[in-house]
Symmetry: C2
Subunit: 347 residues, 2 copies
């Protein structure tokens, strides 16, 4: 059977997501989950579905209620919203919509390593362009004719954000479809919604981070309604389930709650950044719910491993031609205190 | 932006799923949902997740607990199970794993119309081969070198099933990957699990029908563990959410409940079939939770529309070179009585 697989699938290694230990003992600061629970309205909404005998029926294929809630929250046309089974699903849909086999995808680097995997699955080429040392986009951008260019903003692992005027110039320069992955934008000081009128920009969002809903798999795109209609042809008919739709809609309708957890995370981010700097780390100022820290004086893999032995998981990352670092999720104050106490013993 | 879309995406019409009216007044006999609620264990399992603060954390990417439950229920290796966000997700994963752009997919006809859509999204050619008049596969099968051959067994809309020896010969004859879509197999008198050792067979299942869980979007494949490992590279990392995984696992662990609703549906199927025949319909003996009925004396679209006006939805289907028919889901006895009362007035 394996000999019948497409060669690009055989050849690829596959994306390895961050570790997900099943026990509750490990302190998880490795996959940028929100340390606070979702809005109480989310649980109430899921309960309602359970009591209404709706599990046995197919969900709404386009998630009209969610689109209306998101439209209100973001002040955009509900028809500009495309629902996804996590923003991974949205990334897959957009890849399949724009990129032919043998096509070209491009992204800055170091950045979200899943993008290369998306290209490998599609049988497309992937070109990455190093960020400048201060995490800006190269000018001029050296890739021409990409079928899809992907830019996380804020970026992972750096947590940095490209300013709106620079993004505008970038969108105009590349001309082709530009996917702005705003997974972390709710922790930043600006978003890219004003760019939607450029014609070649699609924005993706997730409920995994700022809405504390990584478990339910819900993301969405904001784009020209004409493009949303085309993407609906590409997605699985019922890509979002009835419980996730109810949870996501309730979360979107409780913006006050999101803003309250955001405020707590931003306050802890300030503390974490300062404490890491005091311990001798170089910390990039973050616009996300994680910080990226490095050290010139030592490799960081042993530190990552020692933390893991002490039941604290952070994300160790090493990029060819760039070097390594630790990406640390901003947890609660108590969680960050536990991390810092261990780090003080170790460095 | 639209000019940047792949031409195959622009050109395709898109799959149109069965209507999903949002109100509770309409009697839905059009999308083969189960008329009985899921096992009570399913609701308890979802409640447990809600109380355990697990929504904010990513789910298990490979759904180990579900795989173990399915392995026990089907008496297969848990590593032979691939989890999917509905069996649609599984069909998409297998298409992307086997079929290159410009490749060939094949299926009998009339059959599940989504298969052509999968080919269109992938940019592949699609060839369908008419069933024989008694719903058997053509011998010899006229398509050679398909990258993926898809066969629903039982088939939709006919509800008919190919016998195991014929399937065995078919798998050997085509040689390439054969996807046996067993969405309806729990209502049939045999399944194809004995064929898994043929080397080129993958079986797909869904929890939408026999487990009353269309709303949670959960399906799976049973295949050689080596193929499952390759497909894990193709799927979205976290393609199944924590609530669906809990629900699906609980449902799989309650086989007694599934068998009890199966028995009720099979009894109603007998009644529905006999009553439709009495009303002058030609009804194909069904191995699924629906029946396919036709009439030589009149076109069926007006009847479908009149039923819809009377708030009963069935699925009207018309296939080029074959003709039309109504696919009617086996509901509860009360629901079928309501349908039959209307039909008695109309024919």
């Amino acid at each position: 059977m394996l000999q019948h697989l497409r060669p690009n699938i055989r050849a690829m290694a596959g994306y390895v997501p961050g570790e997900q230990p099943r026990d509750g003992v490990v302190l998880k600061l490795n996959t940028n989950e929100n340390p606070y629970p979702p809005s109480p309205r989310v649980l109430a909404a899921v309960q309602r579905v359970l009591h209404e005998d709706r599990l046995r029926k197919y969900p709404d294929p386009i998630g009209r209620q969610f689109c209306q809630a998101a439209g209100r929250a973001l002040n955009v046309d509900p028809d500009a919203i495309l629902i996804g089974n996590g923003s991974d699903d949205i990334l897959t849909i957009l890849t399949r919509a724009f990129v032919p086999e043998g096509g070209l995808m491009a992204s800055p680097s170091p950045s979200y390593i899943l993008y290369r995997t998306l290209a490998e699955i599609q049988g497309a080429r992937f070109q990455c362009v190093p960020f400048t040392p201060d995490w800006q986009l190269q000018k001029p951008w050296p890739v021409h004719g990409a079928h899809l260019t992907l830019l996380p903003n804020p970026n992972s692992p750096s947590g940095t954000s490209i300013a709106l005027p620079d993004l505008e110039r970038f969108a105009d320069e590349i001309g082709g479809p530009l996917l702005l992955d705003e997974a972390y934008v709710d922790f930043a000081d600006h978003d890219s919604l004003p760019l939607l009128n450029r014609g070649n920009v699609v924005i993706t969002r997730t409920l995994s981070k700022s809405y504390s809903l990584a478990g339910i798999r819900f993301g969405f795109a904001v784009a020209d309604p004409a493009l949303v209609r085309e993407c609906i042809k590409v997605k699985d008919s019922y890509n979002c389930d009835v419980l996730s739709l109810a949870a996501a809609t309730a979360a979107m309708e409780d913006q006050d709650y999101r803003l309250s957890t955001r405020a707590r995370i931003l306050a802890t981010r300030v503390r974490l950044t300062a404490a890491l700097q005091q311990l001798g780390f170089t910390v990039t100022p973050s616009q996300a719910n994680f910080v990226w820290c490095r050290r010139a004086d030592r490799p960081l893999k042993p530190l990552y491993e020692e933390l893991k032995r002490r039941l604290i998981l952070v994300r160790y990352m090493s990029y060819e031609g760039y070097g390594d670092g630790l990406r640390i999720t901003v947890g609660t104050d108590e969680e960050i205190d536990r991390l810092l106490a261990e780090l003080r013993q170790l460095v």
